[in-house]
């Protein structure tokens, strides 16, 4: 830090007077996202999980193929095995989705952000757009790697499929959509709850704990509520075949999107109304 007692350059040299625009807010959110270490780590974890878990499981399964039971071999699912990395990747995406906004609340950054964009809502929309685009693009690359690497390994025992095989393309796209919408849901939760720990707890509770609680209920109750659980509704589209006690793939996904929209609407209302 050098001494600056000399007459300072306060006035900016600019031609046209710049102004606040949504494009500018998008660029700002991109800068914010890429300039944090936590972003890079979360996205790296999500990428490795999505790209690596499928081929790893594929390799292990092929190595043990001869010891699998005939039933296991007959029901072997090469789609799910190649894209199953989303089960771990979704957690990294969800946590990052929360931190995109909760990190601003816990550090006080939100006040700088809202002073620059005092109408507030553009900040939320820009965060959702930038984060969705980044996580979708990254997961698309990771899923392609995972799918083709796994299918190449499956050729050892000729159980491989292609993107053109039945259910494959829908499952592939569905996996990406589920993770992307999970990120949006989590940014909504982070905006409502504002603390990182609280928001991540809410996310984990909704997606991972609720199904566990449902599972210990009497089965007629459990079967009745199961389709409505966000996890069941959301992951249907990422499964090649529908689970028991679940809506159709797209029907469930529509419900999951509905939950997300409600969350984001509440988040937008609170962001606009609350003191920052």
């Amino acid at each position: 830090m050098s001494a600056t007692t000399a007459s300072p350059q306060i006035t900016a040299h600019r031609g046209e007077r710049s102004r606040l625009s949504f494009g500018g807010v998008l660029r700002s959110e991109w800068t914010k996202l890429r300039s944090l270490r936590s972003t890079r780590w979360s996205l790296l974890v999500a990428f490795i999980a999505m790209a690596g878990l499928g081929p790893l499981i594929a390799a292990v399964t092929m190595a043990h193929w001869n010891s699998l039971s005939p039933v296991e071999r007959a029901t072997f699912n090469p789609i799910d095995r190649s894209l199953g990395g989303y089960r771990l990747a979704q957690l990294a995406i969800g946590v990052l989705g929360v931190m995109v906004i909760s990190g601003e609340y816990t550090t006080g950054q939100i006040r700088s952000s809202l002073m620059a964009v005092p109408r507030r809502l553009p900040v939320l929309w820009a965060k959702l757009l930038v984060f969705s685009a980044v996580s979708f693009a990254l997961m698309l690359i990771a899923a392609l790697i995972s799918f083709y690497a796994s299918q190449a390994i499956f050729t050892q025992h000729h159980v491989n499929v292609t993107l053109g095989s039945p259910h494959v393309l829908r499952t592939f796209v569905g996996t990406l959509l589920f993770m992307t919408v999970t990120g949006v849901l989590c940014t909504g939760l982070g905006t409502i709850i504002r603390s990182t720990a609280g928001s991540i707890s809410a996310y984990v509770g909704l997606m991972f704990v609720l199904p566990g609680i449902s599972a210990i209920l009497p089965s007629n109750i459990s079967d009745a509520i199961n389709p409505y659980l966000p996890s069941t509704a959301g992951t249907g589209i990422a499964r090649p075949f529908p689970a028991a006690h679940a809506f159709s793939a797209w029907g469930g996904f529509a419900l999951f999107c509905g939950y997300t929209v409600v969350t984001v609407v509440i988040a937008a209302y609170l962001l606009r109304r609350r003191d920052a």
């Binding site: 830090m1 050098s2 001494a3 600056t4 007692t5 007459s7 300072p8 350059q9 306060i10 006035t11 900016a12 040299h13 600019r14 007077r17 710049s18 102004r19 606040l20 625009s21 500018g24 807010v25 660029r27 700002s28 959110e29 800068t31 914010k32 300039s35 944090l36 270490r37 936590s38 990190g103 601003e104 550090t107 006080g108 950054q109 939100i110 006040r111 700088s112 809202l114 002073m115 620059a116 964009v117 005092p118 109408r119 109304r273 003191d275 920052a276």
Partner: protein, 308 residues
């Protein structure tokens, strides 16, 4: 220009700001004084649209802050210095703010140079000292070359050289015709920087006046120092005219309740020789203390030091 009209803010039962009315004019540095908890920060947050008023309004350059097309060009603000994500570099923090308004990278570098953070701008803000964080906050406030500058405790954490730097900077901004509004609890600092004062206590306006007037008002009842070889006789005469006379440590008398002129005339009438007759000027610090002493939220209680 900042205009605050009938501004009130309650947080539940607690009244933070109550029916404030004042105007901050361009071209001078206006100081915003008040004890801790008086509502200074709340008022600034209300001006900047971070909190919504319970009643009344605050406008900047004629409009509520929120309604400007280019808010960063209207007002540059630093509230708490640490309204910054600690994981980001100072450069990227400023860049992200600049980008919302399409302000270029050249300007970002310019404000970094202006506040003297060239050497650390690429480091994470979490590693910054208090003073560096303060400078980064000032850089962010100046990013949009704003017509109005609002700073909450800008001198906090700065070393003496930094304090002189910010004082000159603020005076320079005002001289350019900008509106400069800053809060500080450092009264001595305010005395050297501000020309106009807005004083609040317990969320209410106490004074809206020039620094000079504020001091002279508070000095009205200030004592006069009198030095005389015949202290006993003069004391008696002064006390007879209704003055209170106290003995200062160095043998001088401190007389309250009479102006210097009256004391001189009484001394002349008594044929008492005076060696000194000085009306005591109250410093801004003392003026502030005496005017706000009724509205201090937390008063130290003298005594045991054991508090419940």
């Amino acid at each position: 220009m900042i205009e605050v009209k009938e501004l009130s803010k309650h947080y539940g039962e607690k009244v933070a700001v109550s029916d404030l009315n004042f105007t901050v004019k361009p071209g001078v540095v206006t100081g915003f004084l008040g004890p801790n908890g008086a509502g200074k920060s709340t008022t600034m947050r209300l001006i900047l649209g971070l909190d919504a008023p319970s009643h009344g309004s605050a406008t900047v350059n004629g409009r509520p802050y929120r309604e400007h097309d280019a808010p960063l060009h209207e007002v540059g603000a630093m509230l708490e210095a640490r309204a910054i994500h600690t994981g980001r570099s100072g450069y990227n923090h400023l860049l992200s703010l600049a980008q919302t308004h399409g302000i270029g990278r050249a300007r970002v570098q310019e404000v970094i140079d202006l506040v003297g953070l060239e050497s650390v701008a690429r480091k994470r803000v979490g590693s910054f000292s208090l003073g560096m964080g303060q400078r980064l906050g000032v850089a962010a406030a100046l990013l949009g070359d704003p017509a109005t500058v609002v700073l909450d405790e800008p001198a906090n954490g700065l070393d003496p050289e930094g304090i002189r730097w910010i004082r000159n900077l603020l005076k320079g901004l005002a001289a350019e015709g900008r509106t400069v509004f800053l809060s500080s609890h450092l009264m001595s600092e305010m005395e050297q920087t501000a020309e106009h004062l807005i004083v609040i206590g317990k969320g209410q306006l106490i004074a809206d006046t020039s620094v000079e007037q504020f001091v002279s008002q508070a000095s009205a009842g200030a004592p006069v120092r009198v030095r005389t070889p015949d202290a006993a006789r003069l004391s008696e005469a002064l006390a007879g005219s209704g003055a209170r006379v106290a003995d200062a440590d160095d043998g001088a008398l401190e007389v309250s309740g009479l102006a210097a002129e009256q004391i001189g005339e009484i001394a002349a009438a008594q044929r008492v020789v005076l060696h000194e007759l000085t009306p005591l000027q109250v410093s801004l610090e003392d003026a502030f203390m005496s005017i706000t002493k009724d509205s201090v939220e937390y008063t130290q209680t003298a005594g045991t030091g054991v508090n419940s």
